[in-house]
Symmetry: none
Subunit: 416 residues, 2 copies
């Protein structure tokens, strides 16, 4: 098994505020082709330490990947120091400079002189194009070893790595296939889940199983190794199906999809439309639904009725229902869902009203009290939740619960 090291470069990654996440993604991609990550380093704009780190890494490991530090400013030292660590020169590429000028021009700017530094590459290295940014990457083939130099922003790094680096590493890595699959579960606690499925997954050494708790849901992650893709897939299928059967409707995604993608798929399959009325989530549900490309096919309208007047005006929530039950109540959630559905003329509508905190809680309705409303042609109903967490988490959990309530209601109708 080939070994890799990842070096993240940037002083901001040595502050208390920023952590290197590129290495997690890179590790996943490397693991998939059977390459093991043996060491990770984070280093700032300290030239001596960076040079030593790169030199040591190349000595010990088959593949060394650096991320970041390719920008045009003084503290972007990666280009210079990686070349030095390889005892190579940086050479100027007119073509890269022309491309850079062109890139700036296409956005209506003139290239600042500073960006000229981005037209230099390590002598003998392959240039890795970057359609999403001004910093190209580099790949140096060091006979049996590789140094790969990537830009820091994940949006630039990921396509570059997948398109230009992965195929090359795959050739060197040989024929082990490592595949992962995740099942996503909603509406269940971590330990009750583990009690149900541990008797199943502990019987398997391959795939390996890990359960991760993530904001509002549990991810059950399976990792299988095989000699072929088919072999690994069939190992995954077997265990994934056993676990999914045990957990039933709580599994909302069998292949790692997000809740909003699952909702989208169901609505498209059934050719149905949706509208959303939000209070404490403030637009989050709409935002999540419309993050899915193609959502305009089923998502018609959202209404963020933060103020009570807006609930009355937009969703025809009767004023006396608010006065009698309070804005945070099942009655108001139902009126919001019903009003939204009728107004937007959609097949389904969901609504959320609750207290996200940190202020606004009362003894009767503490922070975390959230009502989710649901309406279709046949019925309008609501559920009450008591959600733990801070403002951010309560809002996120509310949005997830609302989408999951919709999912379960649609699928239940199907079973009837």
């Amino acid at each position: 098994m080939l070994s890799a090291e990842i070096i993240a470069i940037g002083s901001e990654l040595l502050t208390p505020f920023k952590t290197d996440t590129n290495s997690l993604w890179l590790t996943e991609k490397l693991n998939e082709i059977g390459i093991e990550v043996k060491l990770k380093t984070v280093v700032g704009d300290d030239e001596a330490r960076l040079e030593e780190t790169v030199r040591d890494a190349i000595k010990r490991s088959d593949i060394v990947i650096t991320t970041g530090g390719l920008g045009p400013t003084e503290d972007d030292i990666t280009r210079k120091i990686t070349a030095k660590a390889l005892d190579k020169d940086l050479i100027f590429k007119q073509k890269l400079l022309d491309d850079l000028r062109e890139r700036f021009k296409s956005f209506g700017y003139e290239m600042p002189e500073k960006n000229r530094s981005q037209a230099y590459i390590i002598d003998g290295s392959e240039v890795l194009p970057n359609p999403r940014g001004s910093a190209v990457g580099m790949l140096s083939d060091l006979s049996e070893k590789y140094l790969v130099v990537l830009p820091g922003p994940p949006r630039e790094l990921k396509p570059m790595f997948e398109k230009y680096v992965l195929p090359k590493l795959k050739e060197s890595a040989g024929d082990i296939v490592v595949l992962r699959r995740s099942l996503r579960v909603s509406g269940m606690g971590e330990s009750s889940l583990d009690e149900l499925i541990a008797p199943i997954y502990t019987k398997y050494k391959n795939p390996q199983t890990a359960t991760l708790f993530n904001k509002t849901e549990i991810e059950i992650q399976l990792t299988a190794q095989g000699n072929t893709k088919e072999e690994a897939e069939s190992l995954l299928d077997e265990l994934a199906n056993k676990i999914a059967d045990k957990l039933g409707m709580a599994v909302f995604a069998k292949k790692g999809e997000k809740m909003e993608e699952v909702i989208g798929r169901i609505l498209i399959e059934k050719n149905k439309t949706l509208s959303v009325a939000e209070s404490c989530t403030g637009g989050l549900i709409g935002e999540r639904l419309t993050e899915v490309s193609g959502s305009s096919k089923y998502f018609i309208e959202g209404s963020v009725t933060y103020h009570n007047d807006a609930k009355i005006r937009n969703l025809s929530v009767p004023k006396d229902v608010i006065e009698n039950h309070g804005a945070v109540s099942g009655e108001v959630a139902e009126a919001m869902a019903l009003g939204m559905r009728k107004k937007a003329e959609t097949d389904y509508a969901i609504s959320v009203t609750g207290i996200a905190g940190p202020t606004g809680g009362t003894e009767e309705k503490p922070v975390g009290t959230v009502f989710i409303g649901y309406s279709d042609e046949e019925e309008t109903k609501s559920i009450k939740l008591n959600l733990p967490g801070d403002r951010y988490l309560i809002r996120w959990r509310s949005s997830q619960a609302a989408l999951d309530y919709l999912r379960r209601n649609i699928l239940k109708k199907e079973d009837d």
Copy 2:
């Protein structure tokens, strides 16, 4: 300034699922007493790599902190390898073994023989008690340098570090106070920003300046050292003011606040209200605004008019304006903002309509074409943007641009 390195030990930290977070907390604590973290490493149960890492770290840095790998199992190699890297022996402490047996007894268990390994410490090191776990820490004073060995679980590491390590490091570090401040900038590219302010900040060694690019904005991070808090504050004030003067209105936050917090502060100060009409951002602007606690004071209503019918029905956008100019146009953005403001009876309204992609672009209006509308009592207007990036980034940038357009318009009125 003393320098530190942090070495996180544990194979689970080399998987795609787990990241080392202890180092962020440790960095914060170290920075507060004027110690700079120069390098971080994550290493698994690879003995040779760990030994090399510890040896190199001690050579280059004043303080080396390891976390994790102190458990009783085979793959907990920290004790053995740190001793080896210092060329010291591990010595057995009867007292530690007695304590361990006592600890297990207090939970009603007999100590497993495996745990005996936890009674060995690096020769000459100080034992750091661990009331929350079975692994004690160690502190080796290497004359002018320290090696600190801590357990991995944050709830064990934190109290141990604060009680036994921090006071000792503080003595060595002296009376330095380190403070950070960040300025946030919108509507400017990284290199044009740097060209403007590099002539200012490069004159200062203290504070140090770092610029970070983050989705839609640039953060200028200043770190100042002083003998007192007041001294560090005044150093920050001086440079922050110079930079802010140079950049003018592009600086939206002088003390690290988010755009939505800045908007909230301005609206509260002026006692004004806001509503938002969103198309391609799908609720993101509402979500951001309402993420701020207390936003119900000024945020009245949002309308996610994804479908054209919803724009007509909810915002009174004239049908012929959509037909003549297209849903993605300045005319529609203006009609959305005006309609929203009138309907919600707010002082301000902003709107967004655009093409977030990946599909839906045309030659005339490619993906990334976004119109932002603004309306107040005196005027209604719009701007057109050509935003780079994928769907996620275009939506985020649109939301930021809309909030910034609002901010600039409100503040401009003030200047008039």
